[in-house]
Amino acid sequence: MTTNNEAILQVNDLHITFNTFSGKVHAVRGVQFDLRKGETLAIVGESGSGKSVTNKAIVGILSKNANIERGNIIYRGADLTQYSERQFTQIRGSKISMIFQDPMSSLNPIMKVGKQIMEALRVRNISKAEARQRAIELMIAVGIPDPEKRFEQYPFQFSGGMRQRIVIAIALACDPEVLICDEPTTALDVTIQAQILDLIKQIQKERDLSVIFITHDLGVVANVADRVAVMYAGKIVEYGTVDEIFYNPKHPYTWSLLVSMPDLDTSSSDELLVIPGTPPNMLYPPKGDAFAPRNRYAMRIDYEEDPPMYRVSDTHYAATWLLHPNAPKVEIPDVLKKRIAQQTERLVR
């Protein structure tokens, strides 16, 4: 791992379970990653793979029935899993902030948006006048036209994209250094998606933010991320730089993800592969590799033992038995190979 940049946030061997009426759900089973100053880390995975849960644990807003079973989250030397609610309120917003998926529901419908932005400042004892001034500056920064007028309006008077801008303004209000974006564009129209992505990228550059970007959309990942972590069934199965993941993926699950993503060059004759089967029921996490039943390249050992993280390069790791020296050599599927070739070609041109 290159260490030209300090890791400000480290998640080590995190295990989270939920108590439900049906039993214990193992949502996160040993997640491990770090986040460096000024970078954008994308966490990719299907719904239910534990990406949101991991990040909620970082901000300390897990629901009451969640337990952190094992592992820690180190932020600037302090272990967040040991933090009390009171300590969390100190860092939430001012150090680590979060944006949610649905801007329609993440704003309080009966409070003026200006007040909602100000609130983040007011709880830190900033005077009303100054908070108002800062709120308007923030609204300008996130690209809201006519902020003085918009300040006095309610969320229902805003479009989806505008609301997401307000949510971003709220998240930025207290100058955090880590911003977690939980599928911030999923609920938006495609054209608006691009604007919001650009906004996040621009803000990230301006403020030297470290961003964790949760998504299931690989297109978005390619657009914003420096590094990518692929999650499956509560574990990170592969991580590396965005180039490594897109051009040299090692885990069969990453292959499947990449193949199932259509792009401009996908002609109708091309095979658009779907991933067969469904993710495992996390009430009863399977023995061995959770992806094995859906994996065309599953080996006997996949059903018996969980694969360790194999190092591919200094920045690139993958948890698959295929990287074991004894494993048969497997080539990337042809479809994907073709895809990558086309991509590279396009880049060269």
Partner: protein, 377 residues
């Protein structure tokens, strides 16, 4: 997925086991559980509702057979046996419901009027009456002995006209339940029809129909009901009609909401593009979704109707004598509550248990039909 790996440990672990296998979605395992069966499964887990269902059944059963168990009919009057306290064979031996009553009587009348019927003298004292001291006793008096009903048993006592309260209570329960069930059934029919039309067609039809509801619901329901009963006169049918005037509104609102929720969904649109008629869409595709809420809401409506019935009886708009209902009995009991609490006690217990049971039963049904809980253990 069970593999033969267990017995072949020595085999190479790094060997593809499903390279050529057609990977497909896992086959659905276990039997498909039907809607009602699933609801029933979850309903049975809810103990409170199960007990409630038992009590409802018990009360209905009693309403049917209990009047037959007593040798008195509900309209048979024995003026000389008026206002007797309850007396139950067997239980009377342990000192409750033994037909006795604690009374303050003049000492002098002990040997006259009350001769032979005094069970126990509890306390003697003097009472000042216009300067004179009158010796009094507090005594437990066997009312049955006193009123010459030695060998009769009124399990719940008698009312002011000497009618058997047991028979009247269950007869009254029968009438209250009948009114409740009838009113709710008709309300469901009207509500479902009105709500379906309003919700399915939408637009102007819906607008007009909703304004009508808005105006109707502005009138206090009780005022409407009172006026209706005043106009039609007392009786079972006027009661039911009065409860229908506004009773269907809640149901129609719920059905309309269901239609708005489902009519835009893809499967309905798909069916429509394939040429399904309105009737098919309404009855086959949309309405069945509402079956759970309909049953739940109807269950909650029954105690409501029973409440209105007893309320009206309380107002003096009740059924014509001698027909009893729980409300009539309560209203009669209220007049002599402080002296003869047993006349209020039993109807009050029955109506409370009945309403409690229906509400708990409804709660259980609501959870059982809740689609978000479906399939959970």
């Amino acid at each position: 997925m069970k593999l033969e790996t267990d017995n072949n440990r020595e085999q190479n672990p790094f060997e593809f086991v499903q390279r050529e296998k057609q990977l497909a979605d896992e086959k659905f395992e276990g039997k498909a559980i039907g809607f009602f069966k699933d609801a029933m499964l979850r309903f049975r887990k809810n103990n409170a509702s199960f007990v409630a269902a038992f009590f409802i059944g018990l009360i209905i059963l009693m309403a049917i057979i209990a009047p037959l168990l007593s040798s008195f009919s509900y309209r048979e009057q024995h003026i000389e046996w008026a206002l007797l306290p309850p007396r139950v064979p067997g239980i009377e031996k342990i000192g409750i419901w033994d037909g006795t009553k604690v009374m303050d009587i003049k000492k002098t009348s002990l040997d006259e009027k009350y001769k032979g019927s005094i069970v126990k003298v509890m306390e003697e004292y003097d009472m000042d009456y216009r300067g004179r001291k009158i010796p009094m006793v507090k005594a437990k008096v066997d009312m049955y002995e006193l009123k010459g009903a030695k060998d009769t048993y009124f399990w719940m006592g008698t009312d002011a006209l000497g009618r058997d309260q047991w028979t009247r209570l269950w007869k009254g329960t029968r009438i209250s339940l009948l009114i409740g069930f009838m009113a709710v059934t008709i309300n469901v029919l009207i509500g479902v029809t009105y709500g379906s039309i309003s919700g399915y067609y939408g637009g102007t039809v819906d607008m007009v129909m909703q304004r009508i509801i808005e105006i109707l619901s502005g009138v206090p329901p009780l005022v409407l009901v009172i006026l209706f009963v005043m106009y039609l006169g007392a009786g079972i049918l006027p009661f039911i009609l009065a409860m229908i005037v506004t009773g269907w509104i809640g149901m129609s609102r719920m059905i309309r909401a269901q239609f708005y929720k489902y009519k835009g969904q893809e499967y309905v649109l798909a069916s429509r593009t394939m040429g399904a008629k309105d009737r098919l869409l309404i009855f086959r595709h949309i309405l069945p979704n509402a079956i759970g809420p309909i049953i739940t809401q109807a269950t909650f409506a029954v105690p409501g109707a029973i409440f209105i019935e007893s309320f009206l009886s309380y107002l003096g708009l009740g059924l014509g004598a001698p027909e009893p209902s729980i409300g009539v009995l309560l209203a009669e009991g209220q007049k002599v509550l402080l002296e003869h609490p047993h006349l209020t006690l039993f109807p009050a217990i029955v109506i409370s248990i009945l309403m409690l049971s229906f509400n708990l039963f409804g709660n259980g049904l609501r959870d059982a039909f809740d689609p978000t809980l479906r399939g959970q253990e």
